[in-house]
Symmetry: C2
Subunit: 306 residues, 2 copies
Amino acid sequence: MTTLVFGHKSPDTDSTGSPLIWAWYLNEVQGVDAKPVLLGQPNTEAAFMLKRWGFDMPEIIEDVADDQPCVVVDTNNPAELPANINGADVQAIIDHHKLVGGLETKGPIDITIRPLACTATIMYDLMGDDAAKMPENIKGAALTCILSDTLEFRSPTTTDRDRDVVAALAADLGVNVSDYAAEMFAAKSDVSAFSDAELIRMDSKEYEVAGKKFRVSVLETTAPEIPLGRKDSLMETFKTVEAEDGVDQVLLFVVDILKEEATLLVPNDLVKTVAEKSFGAKVDGDVVVLPGVMSRKKQIIPNLAV
Amino acid sequence: MTTLVFGHKSPDTDSTGSPLIWAWYLNEVQGVDAKPVLLGQPNTEAAFMLKRWGFDMPEIIEDVADDQPCVVVDTNNPAELPANINGADVQAIIDHHKLVGGLETKGPIDITIRPLACTATIMYDLMGDDAAKMPENIKGAALTCILSDTLEFRSPTTTDRDRDVVAALAADLGVNVSDYAAEMFAAKSDVSAFSDAELIRMDSKEYEVAGKKFRVSVLETTAPEIPLGRKDSLMETFKTVEAEDGVDQVLLFVVDILKEEATLLVPNDLVKTVAEKSFGAKVDGDVVVLPGVMSRKKQIIPNLAV
């Protein structure tokens, strides 16, 4: 049976590109019949990557059948995976997030989690000398994933290894890193076609703090004026999303990639308290700028308080 | 703060030796201040390894403090770890068991799980070229761990990689593998000093099947006549252990390493049903021989039915 390789729901660039990379490796190096799939529509940056490097749009799947062989990449969180994931035959996990503790496997399998910025960097290392065999489009996907997850090395999640792999790939491909990253971020920033609810859910994870459920949403952009120009209708839509998703509060951080700061929308006193207690911010009005805040994983979630 | 490196409770050879190996690697290669510790008295084979290769008995700890830096080896199951493990700062996990899904980490960490027979084999591979720097006693510990977990390659968990690493280590050390394994197994088989309850709990894991809680105990030995000569008092003691540990039934498998078979004690109709449904065995009397059964992980647990 064909092994399905997929990342998390609401696929970003890493969750779109890493399945392409690993399915290539399984097929061409390991001799395992494998197919990359997605758990939803890729975001605009991921769609740019697919087009730029000549990939067909991968199939989008809704769930996995019992005993379906799978490789899970870029997550280990069952909440971000198909409903039947614990019924499937998960054969490997490659990830760079904290272990959340809900996924079980039927037997001992290959699990590799590393504190690097990007799943693609881990894959590059796992391949060893075989990484040199990657064709141009797979190298392009890896380059795009790492530049995306590191925000071109601006994110505090960036490690030296992520930098080194980007340098090697860019040299191989003859790509100018800063020009290419600017193209990627322009694609990511082109969010005019999305509804407010789609923007809120596009890159969003749920966390519980002090008994309150938050949907922590991030919009990384080089054009913050586009989402911030819609802040009133976005904050109005928080209420709909909260009701539909069963969370207490949406927190929407608009991350300005170039200025290296986040702007948090502050629709009410709860979010004002969160901004003050989590980031020591002084809030005055319905937005607050958080200088230097770029990473949900490293800077937002560990500090979240209410 | 010193990083503590430990395996599971009721430490066997791998859970005693792998902390020695990895603490050496952290101290001598990675420059991290690390100390191997145990979560209980090592079994007789593990004690033989310590003596044979000139190690001091590691400290036995009861629990870990909040934010204590730890590396967890040979398990990922919180039930087999200190009570406060999710309050500690787990920095890495190296294991060869299935992901059971109860352990959480505070951030992204190094997790390496591989379907090999032994944690020491995974460590050897993780070290890469640095494995050659291991001093004689650390190589001896690694050799002992792999021969123990593979039952000198008789266990169906054995992989080619486990065999290759044993061959390399034995050649380096000038050790004759079959002579050395015979010494190890003789040490493991010397269980005369243990009470019935100690024997039952020595190498034992809890599993739930069809709503019933089983304590699945294994005694690997080259002298099965020793525990089997005590079968009546062992079966009598099942009741005490079941009451004390809150399980429905002890299943005790005496694994004959040389004949490559297990003998299951059958004190009642429940265990008779388990033997029949799990292994297709015909039970007649208070013991049943299961030819070829050597591995709890590969042969007992996946087949357990009631």
